[in-house]
C-alpha cells in the first residue's frame, strides 16, 4: 500500500514537474504565435510546393504563424471555407472563382495571384482534323464548365466561329477519350493533364492552342482571405505572404528538395510527374508581370480581362469592382526584388 502510494506520489510529482516545464516553455513561444490555416484547392502535390517548403523549413514559425495546411478536394469550395472563417487563408480556383464569389456577395478578398497566365491550353492531334482555332468548328471538344468553357467561347468568337457551332462537352477526369481520338480537342492544364497526354501521345504529335495567343487571359490559383481578416489582421497577411514567397523561392531554387518534401507527404505520387509539375508551375508563376514585379503580383490588366470576359458571358451579373476584390496592398509591402526569382 505504502509502496503504491509512493509510486503514485512519484508519478504526481513527475506530472507536475512536466507541467511546470511545459508551462515555463509555452508562454515564451505562444506569446506571439498565431494559429492559422491555409486551404489548398487540391490535394498535396508540387503545384503547392512553395507552401510546404515554407512550412517544412519553419518560415511560418519564424513569422510567428502556427500554420496548418489543409488539402482541398472535389466539391470543396475554398471561397466558402475562407468566407465562413473555417480557414484563414485559401489558395482558391482562380480569378473565375473569386469573381463568382464576389458576385454572390461572399466577403472574400484576393491578396495575390499565383498563376499569372492561363494555366490551361487546348490540345489537338497534329495529324488530326484540327490545325487552327477556326478548325474547332463542328468538332468534338471537351472542356471544364468552370470557366475554361468561356475562355474557349472567347477564343472561338475571336476567329468568327459561333461557339454553338462546335460540339462542346463537359470534360471528365480522364484524357483517354482524346488519346483514343473519340474527341478532337481536349483541355489540359500545363502542369497536370498535359503531362499525361505528352506521355501517351507524344509531345511532338500535339498542337497546343494557347488562350493568350487569342488575347484571352485567365489567371488562376488565387490567394484569398476574408474581408474581416483583411481589415483586422493586415500584419498576419503580410507575414504569411513573406513566408510563402520565401518558401516558393526556395522551392524554385532547389527543386529536388521541394519534390522530396512533397513526396514525403504523399509517397504514392509519381516523382517524374511532380518534377514536371513544379517546372510548369514555375513558368506560370513567373510569367507576365511577375517577371518584373515578382511572385503573387496582381496584374490588374490580366485580371480585368477575365472580369470582362465573365461579365460578357453572363457568368457574373455585372463586372466586379476590381479594387475591392483584389487588394495588392499586402503583397506590395514585400519589395519586388525580394519577390523576384
Amino acid at each position: 500500500m505504502l509502496n503504491r502510494r509512493n509510486v503514485l506520489a512519484a508519478f504526481a510529482a513527475a506530472a507536475i514537474g512536466l507541467q511546470g516545464i511545459g508551462m515555463g516553455a509555452a508562454p515564451a513561444a505562444a506569446q506571439d504565435m498565431v494559429d492559422a490555416s491555409l486551404r489548398l484547392k487540391w490535394l498535396t502535390q508540387a503545384q503547392f510546393a512553395g507552401f510546404y517548403v515554407a512550412l517544412e523549413k519553419g518560415y511560418y514559425k519564424e513569422e510567428g504563424i502556427n500554420l496548418t495546411i489543409n488539402p482541398g478536394g472535389p466539391n470543396l469550395l475554398t471561397e466558402n471555407l475562407v468566407a465562413t472563417g473555417a480557414d484563414t487563408f485559401g489558395l482558391s480556383g482562380g480569378t473565375d472563382s473569386v469573381f463568382a464569389a464576389r458576385d454572390k456577395g461572399m466577403p472574400i478578398v484576393c491578396i495575390g495571384v499565383s498563376h499569372q497566365v492561363t494555366p490551361f491550353v487546348f490540345v489537338s492531334h497534329k495529324d488530326g482534323p484540327v490545325q487552327t482555332v477556326a478548325d474547332f468548328k463542328g468538332k468534338k471538344i471537351t472542356t471544364w464548365f468552370t470557366g475554361a468553357n468561356h475562355v474557349l467561347s472567347a477564343m472561338l468568337s475571336k476567329v468568327g466561329v459561333d461557339p454553338k457551332e462546335a460540339d462542346i462537352q463537359p470534360q471528365q477526369v480522364s484524357v483517354t477519350p482524346f488519346v483514343d481520338r473519340q474527341v478532337d480537342v481536349v483541355t489540359a492544364t500545363r502542369y497536370n493533364e498535359l503531362y499525361v497526354i505528352n506521355q501517351r501521345v507524344g509531345k511532338d504529335k500535339l498542337d497546343l492552342f494557347v488562350p493568350e495567343d487569342s488575347g484571352v487571359s485567365f489567371p488562376r490559383d488565387t490567394l484569398i482571405v476574408s474581408e474581416q481578416t483583411a481589415a483586422e489582421k493586415p500584419e498576419l497577411i503580410e507575414k504569411f505572404l513573406r513566408a510563402s514567397v520565401k518558401g516558393w523561392k526556395d522551392a524554385f531554387a532547389n527543386e529536388k528538395e521541394a519534390i522530396d518534401i512533397i513526396m514525403k507527404i504523399s509517397p504514392t505520387l509519381d516523382r517524374a510527374q511532380q518534377e514536371f509539375m513544379l517546372t510548369e508551375v514555375k513558368t506560370l508563376m513567373t510569367a507576365g508581370k511577375a517577371s518584373t514585379d515578382g511572385l503573387f503580383t496582381i496584374d490588374k490588366t490580366a485580371v480585368g480581362s477575365a472580369n470582362d470576359l465573365l461579365a460578357q458571358y453572363g457568368v457574373i451579373s455585372k463586372p466586379v469592382d476590381l479594387d475591392a476584390a483584389f487588394n495588392a496592398s499586402f503583397i506590395d509591402t514585400i519589395p519586388a526584388e525580394e519577390r523576384r526569382l
Binding site: L43, G73, N75, L76, V173, V175, T176, P267, T268, Q273
Partner: protein
Amino acid sequence: MTGVSTSAATLPVASTGRVHAAVKPVLWLALGLLAIEVLVMALEIRPYYLPRPSAIAANIMATPGAYLAGLWRTFLETALGFVAGSLFGVLMAVIFHRWVTLRELFFPLFVVSQTIPVIAFGAVVVLWFGNTLFAKAVISFYISFLPVTVNTLLGFSSVDPRQVQLMRSFGANDVQILRRLYLPAALPQLFVALKLASSLALVGAIVGEWFGDTTGLGVLLLQAMYNENVVGIWATIVVSACLGMGLYSLVSLAERKIVFWGGEQ
C-alpha cells in the same frame, strides 16, 4: 493483398477447425489472379484499361507505408462511424418501437435525411468539423444508421404478441421485455443490417476523405484518379476491398458467436 485475405479467410478456421475450407478460397483467388495475369498479357490489354495483378502488387509494395497508413486511418474512421451509427440505429429503433407517435413524426425525416447526397452533406461537415478524423466518422455514421434502424424495427415486428402478453402476465416490465424478448428476436435481422452498414460506413469514410485530407484510402484513390495513375487506382481498390472484406468478416464472426441459433448459416 493475399496476406490480408488469408487472415480474413482463416477466421472460420478458428471457430470451426476446417482448414480445408479456409485454404480453398485462397487457392481459387490465387488461380483467378494468375488467370487474369495471363489473359492481360495474352490479349495485350493496355495497362490503362486493366493492369496486370503483379503490377498492382508491385505498386503497393513500392510504397507499403502509404497504403498501410491509409488503411489504418480509413479503418479508424469507418469503425468509429460504424459503431456510432449502429448504436444510434438500434437506439432509434427502440424509441420508434416504444413510442409510435415519435415514429410517425420523425421516421419520414430519417428517410429524407438519406436522400441528401453525401457529396452535398460532406461540404457542410467539413465546415463544421474541419479536416478531422471525426468529420469522416460523422459521414460514415450518417450513411450507416438507417439500415440498422429499419432492420431492427423489422425484427421487433416479428415478435409474437402472445409472447409479450405472457411475459407481461408474469410481471415483466418494459425494459425486461426489451432485453429478453425484443432484442434477441431482432438479432438475426440486426446482423443483416450490420453487414450492410459495415460496407456503407467504409464508403462513407472514403467519400469523406474526398473533402480534403492527407492520409486515407480515399485520398490515395483521388490522387491516383486525377493523375490518371490507373495502377494506383487499382492498388487502392484492392486495399479498400481487403478492408471491406475484413470488416464484413468481423461482423460475420460476431454474428456466429452471438446469434448461435441463427438459421442462416
